[in-house]
Structures are given as C-alpha cells and as structure tokens.
C-alpha cells in the first residue's frame, strides 16, 4: 500500500494527485431535467464521474403483486455502463451494483412521502456513464434531484459525499486511485435539513478519532454539495421563480 514510498498520494506541499487540498471537493456540475421522456431526471458530473438518474412515477406497479397497500413501492436500479470503467464491465448487474441499488434506495427513501401514494411504484434508474470513485454519493445526489424534478413530494433533498484516509491523512471526496491505494473510505449521505444520516458505510481501517474527523469532514462536504444541488434546481426553475406569485387561480370547467 502507501508504505511503498515510490508513489505517494499526497505530496510535500500537502496536495493530492489531482492537485486538490485535503478538504477540497472535485469540480461538480449538475443539470436537472436532462431527459425528455422521464418524469424527472438529473445529470451529474462529479470529477470524472458522469451519472444520469431518471425517475418514473408514481405509476402502477408491475408486477401487480409487489404493490404495497399503504405506501408507494420505491425501486432503485444502479447500473454501470459497460464502457464506464477502464476494463469493460459486464452489463449484467454485479454483486456490487445490487448492493449499491439497495443502499441508495435506503438512503433516499426516508425523504419521500411514500404514504401519500399507496399501491403505486416510483422507479429510479441510475446509469453510470463514466466512473472514477464515489459514484454512490454522486448517484444519491442526482437521484434526489431527479425525484424533485418529477414533482414527487419530498421532506428534503438527500445529499451524499465521502471522506477517507490516504497516506495517514483524512481527506474529502476520494477519487478512484485514492480509494484503491488509500487506507479507508467513508461515504455518508445526510438529510441536510435535520442532519440525519441516511447512509454510512466504511471500507478500510481508521481509528476512532480518525473516523470522527472523517465523518465531520464528509458532512461538511455534503453541505457544500447541497448548495450546488439547490443552485441546479434554481437554474432549471429560475425563470419560473421571477416575479411569479400567481395573480389568478381558479377551478372548474369551461
């Protein structure tokens, strides 16, 4: 690992391989409403990650027997395109993709008012077009935006970001090399309004102090991403926000 000093992840000036400081995020670009046909969608570029999220629903459940009598069925599919990695990835869902589908679903579902639409389904498709570490965080971030774009009532916009340990230092937002050569990775998703944590995973070894430091750093990162999420939504709906305040409203038929 990093003990072989031949290749270091952090140089003498304290900069990482891609030139970032320890608490710096990769550049993030978010677009809402990218897909015409989906009820809601979002596209995110997080460093070299490129991810599309599409939301369909609430709609009727197929197959029928899966429908829940008291709330909506929230389904999530995380999938990596065969060309998203350096070596071709088989398009069949791998163990890892099934796991990520589950953790993303469980991270985002608490934000949805599922009880408002019994016997329906909301389907989310997360397609990773290009990956470079931290796709689950980017996927969660895009998913909550796509849900908001679909007009689904949400308690909050869930946002995710990772922190980790490389070369003995706690850093924010690991990329692929840092994830693989580093010591630990800690992806975190939060509900920024309440500060509740909806996803917390750890891969690697950290001491208790390091863990606490990493967790706080990741939450700090989430807050930064949250600001970008809000900004992306505003950009999409900005024109509609200007001087709006409807002056007439009514109901009935012609």
């Amino acid at each position: 690992m990093s003990q072989t000093k031949s290749k270091r992840l952090i140089n003498e000036e304290g900069l990482r391989i891609d030139g970032r400081k320890f608490d710096e995020l990769r550049p993030i670009k978010i677009e809402v409403g990218t897909l015409e046909k989906a009820d809601g969608s979002a596209y995110i570029e997080w460093g070299k990650n490129k991810i599309l999220a599409a939301v369909y629903g609430p709609r009727e459940v197929h197959p029928r027997h899966l429908a829940l009598p008291d709330r909506t069925l929230f389904r999530c599919r995380y999938h990596m395109a065969p060309f998203s990695t350096e070596e071709r990835k088989s398009p069949a869902p791998s163990r890892r993709e099934i796991e990520l589908s589950k953790v993303i679903r469980e991270a985002v579902e608490p934000a949805i008012f599922t009880e408002l639409f019994p016997r329906t389904a909301i389907d989310v498709f997360i397609e990773v077009l290009q990956s470079d570490g931290g796709t689950r965080c980017a996927g969660i971030t895009a998913t909550s935006l796509a849900l908001a774009d679909a007009g689904i009532p949400l308690r909050d916009l869930i946002v995710a970001c990772a922190a980790g340990k490389i070369d003995g230092q706690i850093v924010l937002d690991l990329d692929n090399i840092e994830d693989q050569k580093g010591e630990a990775d800690l992806p975190v998703a939060i509900s920024p309004r309440t500060g509740e944590i909806t996803l917390l995973q750890m891969d690697g070894i950290m001491s208790r102090e390091e863990y606490e430091k990493a967790l706080n750093l990741a939450i700090e990162g989430c807050r930064q991403v949250y600001a970008m999420q809000q900004e992306a939504l505003k950009r999409k709906y900005a024109s509609e926000e200007v001087g709006a305040k409807g002056d007439d409203e009514g109901e009935g038929l012609s």
């Binding site: 007009g151 509609e240 038929l253």
Partner: protein, 220 residues
C-alpha cells in the same frame, strides 16, 4: 424547494407543505404563498392525483366485463363502469360494449369515487360528458391547470370567446379544443401552449388577449 423552511410558529400547512414541530416546510419545487395562517406552495411541476368531482379526459386502454379501464394520466388507472356510462343496466351478453366505447377512444368523464384503497371510478352520466368525437388535445402539467382556467374562469372564457371554440379542461392536464374552424382550433392550441410556458408570469391574461387580437387581425 423540498425541505426549505417557509414559516415558523402557529401556521397551518397547506398544499405541498408539511409541518414538523412548529415549522412548516415545502415538499415540492414551487412558489410559496402565505395567506393569513395558511401556508401553501404552488407547484411548478407535478402529477395528477384524482379528486372526487374532478373533470378528466382519459383514454380507454382496456375492456372488462364490468366496464372500461381508462388512463387518466394519474398513478392509478380509472374504471368507467358500464352502469355509469349507459345510465341503465347493461348485459354484455346481449349488447356489444365496443359499439359504444372502444379501446383507444377518448372520454370526458367525472371522478365519482377515489380513496387510498380503491382505484378512481368515473361517470359519463352528466351533460357534456362522454366519448370525444372530434377536436384537438393539448397536454399541460396538471399543476398549471388553475392558470389555464384563470380566476373564476377568466382565462378560459377569454380564450373561448376569442377563438370561437369549445374548450374542455380536464383537471388531469388534458385539454380538449373543438371548434367549427380548424384554424381557430390551431390558434387556441398555440395560446394554450403559451399559457403553459408562461404560466408563472404576471399579466398573462392581458398578453393572451393581445395575442388573440393580433392573430385575428392578420387573418381577416
């Protein structure tokens, strides 16, 4: 925006909002309004949730023994029972359902029952309801329907008079335009599309009026 705080204190959470403790938050992207103690959000995008008494326009997608299944652009498929369509008892062994309404037909109907446990039930018994025989369809985001109608129907009346057409507005975001002259139908459709695009702006009724005058001027 979902999760944004709208009010703190003794307020009633209205449409598209929710309360936690003493604070009221938004649950959708939209424009917040506070009227007295009521806080609500006018959604910019949403889907249609059936409400009893709503007028809807839907497409027949299936036939069953007891009635037709209608897609009303909602998370639930609606049922139009034969008894509600004919207004009398109906025996499918003696009569052919499809001779009245077939799969693929459009119907204007009213929601007569809907709750969490049951799919919406429609009726075509009232006047003006039933199968659509001609006209043009426009689809708009269901949340913008109030804007299409306008205050006490001001917008829709303006449009009906201005284009000499009949306009049926379904609460589910489907609008049917039918008129004597095809070019007037087209004009009404363009205006409706403009209303959807600019639903959020002020003085829309005036601009619609202007556009109608201009278009009519060029034609005559």
């Amino acid at each position: 925006m979902p999760g944004d705080i709208l009010a703190d204190g003794d307020f009633n959470p209205g449409q598209n909002t929710y309360r936690e403790g003493s604070k009221v938050y938004a649950s959708l992207i939209g424009l917040a309004n506070i009227a007295g103690k009521n806080v609500y959000v006018v959604a910019l995008k949403g889907f249609y949730m059936p409400v009893v008494e709503d007028l809807v326009i839907g497409k027949v997608i299936d036939l069953r023994l007891s009635g037709w299944v209608v897609d009303i652009n909602a998370p639930y498929a609606a049922v139009l029972p034969t008894s509600e369509a004919f207004g009398r008892s109906f025996n499918s062994r003696r009569e052919e359902m499809t001779s009245y309404i077939d799969v693929g037909d459009l119907v204007v109907a009213k929601v007569i029952a809907f709750d969490r446990t049951r799919d919406p039930v429609l009726t075509t018994k009232d006047g003006g309801l039933g199968k659509v025989s001609r006209g043009r369809l426009v689809r708009v985001t269901p949340t913008k329907i109030p804007r299409v109608i306008g205050r006490k129907g001001s917008m829709i009346n303006l449009l009906t008079r201005g284009t000499d057409t009949r306009i049926t507005v379904g609460q589910n975001g489907v609008i049917l335009v039918s008129g004597e002259k095809p070019e007037m139908e087209v004009l009404a459709v363009t205006v409706l599309q403009m209303i959807e695009r600019e639903a959020h702006t002020i003085g829309l009724t005036d601009r619609v009026e202007e556009l109608l005058k201009k278009k009519k001027g060029t034609e005559s």
